[in-house]
């Protein structure tokens, strides 16, 4: 048997070749190449890919909800109350005769709403407070970090409960309550990153160009903090989903009849022994999505780790 002689691999043609070309031709090209390199690394984590598939299913489900089910998630039909799973009602019906499957499908929208809104509230606040605190130091750092400490000193769920109760029940208030509890760890993380970044020569070089502090933070420090913040937010997402479900379970989240997985689990609790599908379906949905975010977060940590590879 002869050993195959290894030739230098020719650049593959087509899109892959373009993505792997050694000389990027433009800024967009360079960014897409970076992204593709990241994807190649991400692909090496099978569990991460599973998690990503689950999240994609969640997104598709939320987007295409009306196409996936013929039933109105809030339409009641007392005649078929607590019907077991069948071909007509894939996951059975609940105590008001509503189709559980379509409530899960529409509940995905609520969950996705919460995820997106919490992320776009929490990440910028945490990043801004953390990077300012770390970059300016001194009194600015003291004030911002003591405020962060106050928020951190309460357990997240208890604080969210307090805020949700004070603001009144409802999905918007639940999102605000969750966001108020979710930003401090992000701020802490961004501050720690900034503390080490501001010593770097490339930040000194920008200071020697006469850049303002704002420009340095926004254009040079923030982009370096974003990868670890993405990882942190993804890993925290499981907790956020569970907190949202917990608020829903306690009646402080989405209000009936609007489908929300936590609230659905709460109603299902009463009929758990006779009609387990009413609680099992939302419970499994919550578990699957939380797990998926954790798996993706773990894989992203390896991909985006600034110490890995580069």
């Amino acid at each position: 048997m002869t050993m195959p002689i290894s030739h230098p691999r020719p650049t593959p043609p087509g899109l892959r070749g373009w993505l792997l070309a050694p000389e990027p031709k433009g800024t967009l090209h360079a960014l897409l190449q970076q992204f593709y390199q990241g994807w190649l690394k991400f692909r090496e984590h099978p569990l991460g890919v599973v998690g990503l598939v689950v999240i994609l299913i969640l997104i598709v489900t939320a987007a295409a909800a009306p196409l996936l089910t013929q039933y109105d998630p809030v339409a009641q039909n007392m005649a078929i109350r607590l019907a077991p799973p069948s071909w007509e009602h894939l996951l059975g019906t609940d105590n008001f005769g509503r189709d559980v499957f379509s409530r899960i499908i529409y509940g995905a929208r609520t969950t996705l709403d919460i995820i997106i809104l919490v992320t776009i509230i929490v990440a910028p606040i945490g990043l801004l407070i953390g990077t300012c605190s770390g970059y300016f130091g001194g009194i600015v750092d003291e004030v911002l970090m003591r405020i962060t400490d106050i928020f951190l000193s309460f357990p997240g769920l208890v604080l969210a409960l307090g805020f949700a109760a004070a603001l009144g029940p409802g999905i918007t208030n639940a999102i605000i309550a969750i966001s108020l509890t979710a930003w401090p760890p992000i701020a802490r993380l961004a501050r720690a990153e900034t503390l080490s970044l501001r010593q770097m020569d490339y930040i000194a070089a920008v200071r020697l160009q006469g850049a303002s502090s704002g420009a340095i933070i926004l254009r040079h420090i923030l982009p370096m903090c974003i990868p670890s913040v993405i990882v942190r937010v993804t890993l925290n997402m499981a907790g956020i989903i569970l907190t949202a479900a917990g608020l829903g379970f306690l009646g402080l989240g989405a209000q009936p009849p609007w489908p929300e997985w936590g609230a659905m689990a709460a109603t299902g609790r009463e009929f758990m022994l006779d009609s387990p599908w009413v609680i099992a379906a939302p419970g499994l949905a919550i578990a699957a999505v939380s797990l998926a975010f954790n798996l993706v977060g773990d894989a992203l940590r390896d991909v985006l780790d600034p110490r890995g590879g580069e």
Partner: protein, 258 residues
């Protein structure tokens, strides 16, 4: 071009002086070397001149005009710095091109279409490298990019903080030749900090030898080459640097030959 008078620096209000009254002048279009062992305060002097460290005593003037510790934005168009470690001085998540445009943006200067290509060519790099990230470049290429970033504002003065010590020997020579060529073409004034006598001798015409936060001797490069230095520390430093890498000189002999 640069005049430093009685420069004192301490880190923290009650800590001892790190730089104890250093004075020297750099002529326009010439290279001035600051040499000394690690920790003698030479880089600290450079950071004070650059404006990175504002807590200093004494006077620093540029072109005859005394400078405020808080440097003006215009100052940075006159004085730029090249750092020691090209692995730490380039932003890891920005393309070469965007790092080179950044100085122009920060100084609110117009960004000409071929500014980046021109400056890359000036430092001997192919303009097609513009869209690479720093981790896709070699150490020597990175240092060239760092030099290009300093040059894009067209400053008359460059502060060089051990610009070759993080590179391997063959690349060191390339970078030193590049710096020498750039100086000839553009009439730049260099203030070079190094612990390496050979590097200093290659570029500089005048040299100040620092020890323990003080300049012990300022002399011409010919005196360094011929070994005619006065101060005992300068003699020790010179003989140690000559003996470096030679088998027959043992540390004890270096000490006794001084």
């Amino acid at each position: 071009m640069i005049d430093v008078e009685n420069l004192t620096i301490r880190f923290g209000p009650r800590s001892p002086l790190v730089v104890k009254g250093v004075s020297f002048s750099v002529e326009r279009g010439k290279s001035f070397g600051l040499v000394g062992e690690s920790g003698c305060g030479k880089s600290t002097v450079l950071r004070a001149i650059s404006g990175l460290n504002r807590n200093y005593g004494g006077r620093i003037s540029l072109d005859g005009k005394p400078l405020e510790p808080e440097r003006s934005k215009a100052f940075f168009r006159d004085v730029q710095m090249v750092f020691q470690d090209p692995y730490g001085s380039l932003h890891p998540r920005k393309t070469v091109r965007s790092q080179l445009i950044e100085p122009l943006r920060n100084q609110n200067l117009p960004i000409k279409e071929n500014a980046v290509a021109d400056v890359l060519k000036a430092v001997g790099l192919d303009p097609s490298l513009g869209y690479r990230f720093p981790h896709q470049l070699s150490g020597g290429q990175r240092q060239r990019v760092a030099i290009a970033r300093a040059l894009i504002l067209d400053p008359p003065v460059l502060l060089l903080d051990e610009p070759t010590s993080a590179l391997d020997v063959s690349v060191q020579a390339e970078i030193l030749n590049l710096l020498a060529d750039l100086q000839k073409e553009r009439g730049l004034t260099y203030l070079l900090v190094s612990h390496d006598m050979a590097v200093i001798a290659h570029l500089c015409s005048r040299v100040a030898i620092m020890n323990g936060g003080e300049i012990v001797e300022e002399t011409g490069i010919d005196q360094i080459r011929s070994g005619h230095v006065q101060h005992p520390y300068s003699q020790r430093l010179l003989s140690a640097s000559r003996a470096y890498g030679k088998q027959e000189m043992r540390p004890a002999e270096i000490m006794s030959s001084a």
